[in-house]
């Protein structure tokens, strides 16, 4: 059986790592993403996702440098996204050291780009990110453009469409749950997991290790969090230990705090 992955997401705005709360940036945690990369890398993380959430497209060049310096310290797969609007920028991100591309707004505005990138680099390189938001009546739709534009599409439909465009993975996020410390939007997450054949990464709202477990139970292949991993020492190791103790099959490295398996 494939192992479940634990993923740390690093939210980058103008080169600095910020905390995101419902897509607003409330505080700056690191002035340089390197410090986060270094820590997570030493703490048994399985993958890293670097997202450029700056409001301005001019941030694109600076973000390439962040990806490049992160990739020097990162020994796990590195996905990068934000402002990927053309083939050239996608290729520059990959050449800066990204292993995967995270696409969000392009799914709405330029679906041909998504398919073209998938054909060129392979579906394993294309991560479709979808930001789910509920309206006042409780209806969930997918938003693009940093959570500002409503596509009017239900999450499951959108995920299916992303898969058919060539995405090899779905990165599920929730605008409402982001930074709210209440756990994932499990109903929408389940709907998305049930709709596609490609792996789904759950993201948005984790505040306890139990929230991670709930993501796996909802059908996610991988579970991700951002803010919480910055708060305590060896956070991602502790999260993995918790998952192991609750029967989740995760990768164990030599330095992971020993989880005593029952002897056969």
């Amino acid at each position: 059986m494939l192992k479940h992955r634990l993923i740390a997401v690093i939210i980058v705005r103008q080169g600095q790592v910020v905390q995101s709360v419902q897509f607003k940036h409330t505080n700056v945690i690191h002035y340089d993403a390197i410090h986060a990369v270094e820590a997570f890398n030493a703490w048994d993380i399985d993958e890293l996702v670097l997202l450029n959430v700056s409001r301005k497209p001019e941030s694109r060049d600076g973000f390439l440098q962040v990806v490049e310096s992160a990739s020097r310290y990162c020994f796990v797969p590195l996905a990068a996204g934000g402002w990927i609007g053309d083939d050239d920028y996608a290729s520059r991100l990959l050449r800066s050291g990204a292993d995967k591309l995270v696409l969000n707004t392009a799914l709405a505005d330029d679906p041909a780009l998504v398919s073209r990138l998938s054909e060129k680099y392979g579906a394993q390189c294309i991560v479709a990110s979808l930001d789910v938001k509920h309206d006042a009546a409780g209806k969930a739709t997918v938003f693009v453009d940093r959570g500002r534009r409503d596509t009017g599409q239900p999450p499951a439909e959108w995920a299916r469409r992303a898969e058919s465009l060539g995405a090899g993975e779905i990165f599920f996020n929730s605008v409402d749950q982001d930074g709210a410390r209440q756990g994932y939007d499990l109903a929408s997450l389940k709907a998305v997991c049930g709709a596609v054949g490609v792996p789904v990464i759950a993201f948005g709202g984790v505040f306890t290790w139990q929230h991670l477990l709930e993501g796996i139970q909802a059908g996610a292949d991988a579970v991700a969090a951002a803010n919480i991993f910055h708060y305590t020492e060896h956070s991602t190791k502790k999260a993995k230990t918790y998952l192991l103790e609750h029967g989740v099959n995760v990768r164990r490295s030599g330095t992971l705090k020993t989880f005593q398996e029952n002897a056969d």
Binding site: T26, N27, I34, H35, A39, A42, H230, E233, T255
Partner: protein, 432 residues
């Protein structure tokens, strides 16, 4: 330069700051405001109970391990250390081991207050003094490379307690405030942030680990020995965890200093300081004036901005009053500059030359050979945004007669305290 619409911080404030897109209020002010339970839903009574549970667990563990101490408190002898130890001992019945990293740049009042803390608390105390040869080399190298002559402080203060924790098998280290949250709001109260090695490296040690310094500026392996952090395995074996008390108590330095002055005779100074109107914070650190002046030379603001911003957030000072303090103190060259230049074996001119390339072009420009500030908070008129961001004014005013001993007001200067350490400005530091 953009300035916070509530306090006086500029957009280039260190270590990191962010302004709200809508009202222009900075992350430090928002952190401060989040203490009010109705805003962020923080239940301080529940947090105090959480703290009490942590203390009980620490006592239980100490008993289990046969350890005479249930926690470590890193102390400098300042107001925070007094308050931490007082609260832990008097209210929670803890038996802390006090640990001081002596960076060698002590003021007479600092040594007096540290001795006072050890005496009044009755706790056991370990003090490790850095060798002056290594301090000279490290300070000079750091001044030349990153414009900081106190790197060894932060490295030592954030390392020694962990070394002692590992050596003595003590799993809990109790820090006071989360300083960076307090100033510029790098983290939030809701997240219960604990000590991490990355904060130590990124923010306290400017991204430089001790071992990277070997061979630079004549620095040897033995020079950096006090700054080498235990390994991940050692930390995990003992299960060391560092918590911040400011996550569990509504932190207000003024209330705390009043408490420890009354309870344990902590002493502020009575002379006017060079860089701020505050008479009780960081008085133990003799190099702080030069350290803070470096911040001004690099980023265009200093300690008066920090201290006035804090008073403004508490509603004890208006923006107008705060701006006057910034105008009076931030640009002043400290009287101790010559002493530190002499200690490091450089001239004052050389000092200024070293800093030249570190001046932030966002705030500094050179005009006809002179450095000029491109902007300052006092050049900005108070507009609609600033009016809207004002906090409710407190009846307790910073410069009221009741606060005479805490804040320097030239119209109502503090009374002499009756001993030289508190009453006479010291030009030189004392190593012990």
């Amino acid at each position: 330069m953009e300035y916070c619409s509530r306090c006086l911080y500029p957009a280039n404030a260190k270590p990191t700051i962010i302004f709200d897109e809508e009202d222009g209020v900075c992350s430090g002010c928002n952190y401060h405001a989040s203490r009010e339970s109705r805003l962020a839903n923080i239940d301080w009574d529940e947090r105090e109970r959480m703290f009490a549970r942590i203390c009980e667990e620490a006592k239980r563990l100490a008993k289990e391990r046969g350890n005479p101490y249930d926690c470590i408190v890193p102390v400098s002898g300042g107001k925070d250390s007094h308050y931490q130890v007082w609260l832990l001992k008097e209210r929670y019945g803890m038996t802390p081991l006090l640990v001081t990293f002596n960076h060698a740049f002590n003021s007479p009042i600092g040594d007096r207050n540290l001795a006072n803390l050890v005496e009044k608390s009755g706790c056991e105390h370990i003090r490790q003094t850095a060798g002056l040869d290594s301090v000279r080399r490290l300070s000079l190298h750091m001044l030349k490379t990153v414009g900081d002559l106190t790197w060894h402080y932060h490295a030592g203060i954030r390392t020694l307690p962990f070394r002692v924790a590992v050596e003595k098998n003590i799993p809990l280290i109790v820090w006071g405030e989360h300083g960076f949250a307090e100033l510029t709001g790098i983290v939030t109260l809701e997240d219960f942030v604990e000590f991490t090695k990355w904060t130590r490296k990124e923010h306290d040690m400017r991204g430089i680990e001790a071992h990277e310094l070997i061979g630079k500026g004549g620095i040897t392996a033995s020079d950096i020995a006090p700054y080498v952090f235990p390994t991940d395995e050692e930390i995990e074996r003992v299960g060391v965890r560092g918590i911040y008390m400011s996550n569990f108590f509504k932190w207000d330095a003024k209330f705390q200093v009043e408490t420890v002055m009354r309870q344990w005779d902590f002493s502020p100074v009575s002379y006017e300081r060079d860089r701020t109107f505050n008479l009780y914070a960081k008085v133990e650190d003799h190099a702080n004036d030069v350290h803070d002046y470096l911040k001004f030379l690099k980023f265009g603001y200093g300690r008066a901005t920090d201290d006035a911003s804090m008073e403004i957030r508490h509603g004890r000072m208006t923006r107008e009053e705060g701006i006057e303090q910034v105008r009076h103190y931030d640009a002043r060259e400290p009287r101790t500059l010559a002493f530190y230049c002499e200690l490091m074996g450089i001239s004052v001119d050389e000092f200024y030359r070293i800093i030249e390339p570190m001046r932030d072009p966002a705030i500094w420009e050179k005009v006809n050979g002179d450095w000029r500030m491109k902007d300052a908070v006092y050049r900005h008129p108070i507009g609609a945004a600033e009016e809207a961001a004002r906090v409710k004014q407190n009846v307790d005013r910073t410069f009221s007669p009741a606060n005479q001993a805490l804040y320097f007001n030239p119209l109502n200067p503090p009374l002499k305290r009756g001993f030289p350490a508190a009453d006479e400005f010291p030009l030189r530091c004392q190593v012990l």
